[in-house]
């Protein structure tokens, strides 16, 4: 279904690519003295060093949040965006949602909190999806639910593996019950995709919570996470209020989840591409190039 592919406006996308390249170039070549505070160890670390290490801290391996675009650039040889046209819908006529939406667009430079692409990882064709928490904290409303569902349908129809990097504050409150229903819709999309016997790799990144944890993100054939990622269903504050006590130190961290038996593996960002490549190869997906 070629009309699924949003390939219009080539000039704009070239300009955007150039801009991104320029931005990346600047960042990579930032003079010493341009530092960033690491949320992990609290050290000031040179930005260019972080960039060289796939946006992880050279001191403590803290994984910085990265954009959905950076995620794709890091993992894939090449890709095309398959998100459909963006449209603002206010399903429960929530007061102030539109203004808040516009504000999020302006602040993040994104049109929504999800990027869906078809691309190649070491030559293996796949569908890759990344949520982006700069937009509404990556919360899942109807648009994201629909895009996730379409990504599974797209991959299923073409017998492609699918890779999802989630990061989300949960369901998007402003869309009320429609957000909740996206949990059902996306989980059913996983079920239907599963019928095609193709591989779904889910990688949870910092933070993945609420309705996203309780739906498609927990349903991967292979469950991965980045080191230190916060992963859970209920928010830490709510739990604290409920139990009226303190929480264990590594509570809801990837390492905690692995110990409790809910993750197959925790993979460092620098090893992610190779790790996924090995998985794809083992499941019989072959490079279509060379």
């Amino acid at each position: 279904m070629e009309e699924n592919i949003r390939d219009g406006r080539p000039i704009i996308s070239i300009i955007k690519k150039l801009r991104r390249f320029k931005k990346d170039f600047k960042r990579m070549n930032a003079p010493e003295g341009l530092f960033e505070r690491c949320n992990g160890c609290g050290d000031l670390v040179p930005k260019n060093k972080i960039g060289e290490r796939f946006y992880t801290c050279p001191e403590c391996d803290y994984h910085f949040n990265i954009s959905s675009g950076d995620r794709m650039n890091m993992l894939l040889d090449e890709y095309k965006v398959i998100n459909r046209t963006y449209k603002f819908i206010n399903p429960i006529d929530f007061p102030g949602y539109k203004a808040k939406y516009k504000e999020n667009r302006k602040k993040s430079g994104l049109r929504e909190g999800i990027l869906t692409v078809e691309g190649y990882l070491n030559g293996i064709k796949l569908v890759a999806v990344a949520l982006d928490n700069r937009f509404f904290m990556g919360s899942m409303g109807s648009y994201i639910g629909e895009e996730i569902t379409r990504a599974f349908e797209y991959a299923g129809k073409r017998d492609l593996p699918i890779l999802i990097f989630s990061t989300s504050g949960g369901a998007r409150m402003q869309e009320g019950i429609f957000s909740l229903m996206q949990m059902a819709k996306t989980s059913i999309a996983v079920e239907r995709y599963g019928e095609t016997k193709n591989l779904y790799i889910s990688c949870m990144t910092n933070p993945t919570t609420g309705g996203v944890t309780a739906s498609f993100a927990s349903l991967g054939d292979i469950m991965l996470a980045e080191p230190g990622a916060l992963i859970g269903f209920a928010g830490a504050r709510v739990i604290k209020e409920t139990i009226k006590g303190e929480l264990p130190e590594d509570f809801q961290r990837a390492e905690f989840l692995k110990e409790k038996g809910f993750l197959d593996e925790i993979v460092h960002r620098k090893d992610m591409k190779e790790y996924i490549y090995k998985l794809l190869k083992l499941h019989g997906y072959r490079s279509c190039k060379g």
Partner: protein, 299 residues
């Protein structure tokens, strides 16, 4: 206002006038109040301590109920009641999220908030139903999944996700009845159904109004304001085509006063079940999955 209505109905019941006059007067009072109910009042009714709980619904609708226990993995979650019985002459499996009417009962049932073992218990019973080709009826009355350390340790998110996925492909009819409060993923995890029936004064929402206000406005005390914008009443859900039927309610704060509501609900479930049982397993699954596929798809 709900308190006022409760007092009036109580007074009326105590007067012990003749049955006809009582019924007419009661109808009058209820109608008068109904026209004034705001979503906030509906939430109060849905959560009212004297409102029949899921177990009461089960015992008044299912005949010869037998209650089963445990997820056969970890423990028996008391907030989930489930088992087998008859609806009319048809053997069915029932599942309910149960609240208590007193503090002691509520502690026992964890205020109707299941932990992962509760969702896994429900799933075990639903798979058993599928094996023996029994329709499944779920009765929802829960603030949501329990937010606690132990629940997170045992994979609350995973348990809910798995239930949603598995329910979507069960090859038997599934009907979900919202009897009171339907909160969040905890309610969704037991309501992926062919038909959703809501009692007139039940609610179904993305989160509790308190939680909603806390997240959006950083102030949980604004929950009344939250109920005005959340669109969580049975009528809202029906208008959004998420609920398939709404059962008209005589507002009541006693089991006796609720009998007609039970009867209306039972009749509706039997009717729905009759048409669902004529469908092939494949069609049941397809229709159920397609129903959710369409929600929020206008892009």
């Amino acid at each position: 206002m709900i308190k006022e209505l409760e007092e009036m109905l109580k007074e009326l019941e105590e007067k012990k006038q003749n049955q006809e006059a009582f019924k007419i007067k009661r109808k009058q009072i209820i109608e008068e109040y109904k026209s004034k109910l705001t979503p906030y009042h509906r939430v109060q009714l849905a959560r009212h301590e004297k409102r029949p709980k899921a177990k009461d619904f089960i015992e008044n609708i299912v005949s010869e109920p037998m209650f089963f226990h445990g997820d056969k993995l970890f423990s028996d979650d008391r907030s989930i009641v489930g088992g087998v019985g008859y609806l009319g002459h048809v053997p069915i499996t029932f599942i309910g999220t149960n609240k208590g009417k007193t503090l002691e009962e509520n502690v026992e049932y964890n205020f109707g908030m299941p932990k992962p073992e509760g969702y896994r218990k429900a799933l075990r019973l639903m798979k058993q139903a599928e094996k023996f080709n029994r329709p499944i009826i779920t009765f929802i009355d829960t603030p949501g999944a329990y937010p606690g350390i132990d629940a997170e340790e045992r994979g609350q998110g995973e348990a809910i996700a798995i239930n949603i996925l598995e329910m979507s492909r069960l090859e038997v009819p599934i009907i979900s009845v919202f009897t009171g409060e339907g909160g969040s993923g905890g309610a969704l995890a037991l309501s992926v159904a062919n038909k959703i029936i809501m009692m007139e004064n039940s609610i179904f929402s993305i989160l509790s109004p308190e939680g909603f206000a806390t997240i959006l406005w950083k102030d949980g005390t604004l929950y009344e304001k939250a109920t005005e914008v959340m669109k969580l009443t049975a009528k809202d859900l029906y208008d959004y085509k998420i609920a398939d039927r709404v059962i008209e309610e005589d507002i009541s704060f006693s089991m006796k006063g609720f009998q007609e509501n039970f009867a209306r609900l039972k009749e509706e479930i039997i009717k729905e079940l009759e048409s669902l049982r004529k469908k092939s397993p494949a069609r049941l699954v397809k229709e159920r999955q397609n129903k959710y596929r369409k929600i929020g798809g206008g892009y």
